[in-house]
Amino acid sequence: MSLQHVTTTVNGDAAEFLCDATETLLDALRDRLGLTGSKEGCASGDCGACSVMLEGRLVCACLVLAAEADGREVETIEGMAGTGELHPLQTKFLELGALQCGVCTPGFLVAAKALLEEHPDPDETEVRYWLAGNLCRCTGYDKIIRAVLETAADLRGQ
């Protein structure tokens, strides 16, 4: 079986890799590009630990074929912080203790950033439903929800 050549953009940088036709974007990110910040919790789109942005759309990288990234832009957790500076969501998660084991955290941050870009002023219920595709087993979600709501308020200048 011959491998496919994929040319893509990851976190703003050109990237290329060879992959099997059946390989997921998650496997390619982790195994071909060494970007292990996106985690595999289920490989079935149920846990959201592999949340990434593909052409500006929030997706589970385990449900996307690597070949689908060809010619498109991918953003992962590794691209979330600016040079030398954390994204406000990252800072707020640390301030409020909104993580315990931390394995779901990259997925939550990518998903929460997508939420705030689309809905800068969400209420608690909206945050809970937007993040319902991201599983956390440690925190009971309380501090995560608070961190997203507080960041949203900060970004709106309140």
């Binding site: 079935s44 991201n134 501090k143």
Partner: protein, 758 residues
């Protein structure tokens, strides 16, 4: 050894909420978890698992798999050294190695669907998967049993044909699936029930739940030709992984170095080994590093969920609400091997109450399911579900407020515990009072709404701990720990070191060292780390201070008795000691190279004196009578932490335990088909709570100091999962006016209860 200390009550840094030292790596994706390590020439290992719930393995032919290009090693039962039932165990292994070895790889029989029967290492995942299909196993399928009550019946299929129940006198002549019987007995049970004005009795059942950590098991093993091996894995205890693997594989402990990766949740499920010995063997056979990861499906089918249970309990009380007697039968399956947490569970259920007359019969039962592992307060939530539900019935019958009923029976300092010893300083009454007085209890529930209250207990554990505190020449400090950090414990250790050394928190960092760098550390479990590793960190920090005092005294050429440690400086103790400018921590650190060399403190201790932790939970919910769906509206968790070192992570433990408990109460269950095959091995069908299922979870941290820790710390991790099953059940039962006796309280069960059908 007894450490000398008095419990401190005022703090400078402890009790604040600074960011954790490992936090930035975790919010940026840099932190490396079990599956995140890659190395040159690394192979992929995969496991062939039994499709049958119970089957004799007549033959395994691996020749076609071995011949496949790209396959570098195949292992089966034949590759594991023989371990007799009395095999000598090295290290600190607490688990029965004979059982663990057989759980890791099936021998004569596959004992559950998902039991490992062979494994391969290949150059790619695709080749490894293809190789598994080329392994030919000749099966003789046997009758199976997965239900705990069915397994106890005479004539049930035997999981182990030769198993005679332990703990019965005289011993039974016939084998059965009852591995062990234990009776817990106190007082005069008949007199106790004779003194009761009201007696309630029910049978309860709970289905098996999984810890549901988001990170599947993963490891990388690399074995050299000289037999020395390295293992990287996500585990709650890399020292016990080392000990178990070395025992199973017949290795010297010094030949195996285990590094714990960051760990993506454990909750007890990562206290044993599954893939690790197999990966080491595959690496030994192939001469290459081997990485193994479980799929989510494998995690459900073949790691260690908790017991399903069946409990019959009877409680008597006087008219004024004093509990006079409790007798109960606890039947817990522990999967295919002995060791369900039945007797701890039984004890924990009654531990909050001062009840003079108790008989608890405990049955540890084996079935054709995966071997149970610990799950957060192992065994306690199910027992508390039964006991706390019956207390709610008594409160209803006697028309006593449920918190008041518990206050009338609550254990306090000086009370005898149901397990024997007298309680020292404990905070159960304080928790009940805090719950009673909490403002959230003022609001009255509306239609189809109700409030449920339940208490919980976990004894906590201390254990062996080894910590090093290294002082750098710039005055910063590194704490080396051997207890994997799952929920922020590095931050707590840094706070305690900073408190002792009187230096800024930001100047202290902590890491989890590998098994070669420290003395033995028991596993992160039993809610022990903040207590035990904290104790060792404080002790090691005090040794740093001792050394600093010696250095200053030597410099000033005075006796060490003539110097004191005060506000982060060494000073002369008084005018007689001479006129010397105080030396700061930083100054002494900078002088270390020229005053005798590096400054470090060690503590190698067996931390005794873990303080018991009690909790009281209050749950308000609404039941939709049309659909049976439950919506949790408000939840309050009150618990005694002794002293909260980093309150964010104490609250986080309370909230996380509540969420897991609500999931267990309402949704989560292992569903087996009549073929003994697990029907729901994925997060879609085994549904853990998602963000939209839960409300904010309110917490109250009660602080009754534990005299067994210099700052008063009690473990907090496990108790929070004990009350929720009963708190939710008591609320649902009140909302629908029917007693709920089974978990999960899924919509069909609730509708059936409303309809009055069983």
């Amino acid at each position: 050894m007894e450490l000398e200390f008095t419990t401190r009550t005022t703090f400078d840094k402890v009790g604040t909420r600074p960011p954790r030292p490992d936090g930035t790596d975790k919010v940026t994706g840099r932190a490396l978890y079990g599956a995140d390590l890659a190395g040159a020439g690394m192979l992929v290992g995969k496991v062939l698992r039994s499709p049958h719930a119970h089957a004799r393995i007549l033959a395994i032919d691996t020749s076609r798999a071995s011949a496949l290009p790209g396959v570098k090693a195949v292992v089966t039962r034949d590759d594991f050294p023989g371990i007799g039932p009395d095999g000598k165990v090295k290290g600190e292994v607490e688990e029965n190695v004979w059982d663990v070895a057989r759980n890791v790889m099936a021998r004569d029989k596959a004992l559950y669907e998902g039991h490992a029967v062979a494994a391969v290492a290949a150059t790619s995942t695709a080749v490894a998967r293809q190789a598994l299909k080329l392994i030919d196993v000749t099966w003789q399928v046997l009758p199976h049993v997965t239900d705990v009550d069915e397994a106890m019946k005479p004539g049930a299929p035997l999981v182990h044909e030769d198993m005679i129940t332990a703990g019965m006198d005289p011993a039974p002549e016939e084998p059965s699936n009852i591995a062990e019987y234990t009776r817990i007995e106190m007082g005069d049970i008949e007199a106790g029930f004779a003194a009761a004005d009201v007696i309630v009795e029910q049978t309860f059942r709970t289905e098996a739940a999984h810890q549901g950590y988001i990170e599947p098991h993963a490891c990388v093993a690399s074995t050299s030709e000289d037999g020395v091996a390295e293992l990287w894995c996500c585990t709650q205890g890399h020292f016990s992984v080392r000990d178990m693997c070395a025992n199973i594989l017949g290795m010297d402990l010094a030949n195996l170095r285990v590094t714990s990766s960051e760990i993506g949740g454990g909750f007890g499920g990562k206290t044993t080994v599954f893939l690790e010995p197999v990966a080491l063997l595959l690496s030994r056979k192939s001469g290459r590093p081997v990485k193994m990861t479980m799929s989510r499906d494998e995690v459900f089918r073949a790691s260690g969920p908790t017991s399903s249970t069946s409990i019959t309990a009877r409680i008597g009380a006087t008219r004024d609400g004093r509990i006079t007697a409790c007798d109960a039968s606890f039947r817990y399956q522990g999967g295919a091997f002995p060791g369900s947490p039945v007797s701890y569970g039984a004890v924990c259920g009654m531990a909050p109450y001062d009840c003079p007359n108790v008989v608890l019969d405990c049955y540890d039962v084996v079935v054709n399911r995966p071997k149970a592992a610990a799950y957060r307060a192992p065994g306690a939530p199910m027992a508390s579900f039964a006991i706390e539900s019956l207390l709610d019935e008594i409160a209803g019958k006697l028309d006593i407020d449920p918190v008041e009923l518990r206050l009338r029976n609550a254990v306090k300092e000086g009370s005898s515990s149901v397990y024997g010893p007298t309680f020292g300083a404990i905070g159960f009454v304080e928790c009940l009072e805090a719950a009673r007085d909490h403002p959230s209890l003022e609001a009255a529930p509306g239609a189809n709404r109700a409030r449920g209250i339940a208490a919980g207990f976990w004894p906590n554990y201390g254990g062996q701990t080894s910590v090093t505190v290294n002082v750098n020449n710039d005055g910063t400090v590194l704490v080396s720990l051997g207890t994997p950090d799952i929920g922020g414990s590095r931050a707590s250790m840094c706070l305690m070191a900073a408190e002792e050394l009187q230096i800024p928190y930001e100047r202290v960092k902590a890491i989890i060292a590998d098994t070669s760098a420290l003395g033995h550390n028991d596993t992160t479990g039993g809610s022990r780390v903040t207590h035990s590793a904290g104790l060792a960190t404080i002790e090691a920090s005090r040794r740093v201070i001792d050394t600093m005092k010696q250095r200053a005294a030597a410099l000033w050429d005075i006796d060490v008795e003539a110097v004191v440690w005060d506000q982060g400086c060494v000073r002369p103790s008084g005018a007689n000691a001479g006129d010397h400018e105080p030396l700061t921590f930083e100054a002494i650190a900078a002088m270390a190279p020229s005053t005798g060399g590096p400054i470090a403190g060690h503590a190698e201790i067996n931390a005794e004196g873990a303080g018991a932790s009690f909790a009281v939970h209050v749950c308000d919910l609404e039941v939709d009578p049309e659909t049976g769906r439950v919506t949790v509206l408000n939840y309050l968790a009150v618990q005694d932490a002794g002293k909260a070192i980093h309150p964010d992570y104490v609250e986080g433990q309370y909230q996380g335990g509540v969420a897991q408990g609500i999931g267990w109460a309402l949704n989560e269950e292992y569903i087996y088909g009549s073929d003994g095959v697990l029907q729901n091995p994925g997060f879609l069908d085994y549904r853990i709570p998602v963000a939209s299922d839960l409300p904010m979870i309110d917490t109250v941290i009660v602080e009754v100091p534990n005299p067994g820790h210099p700052y008063g710390v009690r473990g907090v991790g496990e108790t929070p999962i004990v009350p929720p099953l009963a708190a939710v059940a008591n609320a649902v039962s009140r909302a629908i006016d029917r007693r709920m006796t089974e978990t999960p309280m899924s919509p069909p069960r609730i509708l059936a209860a409303i309809d009055g059908s069983p």
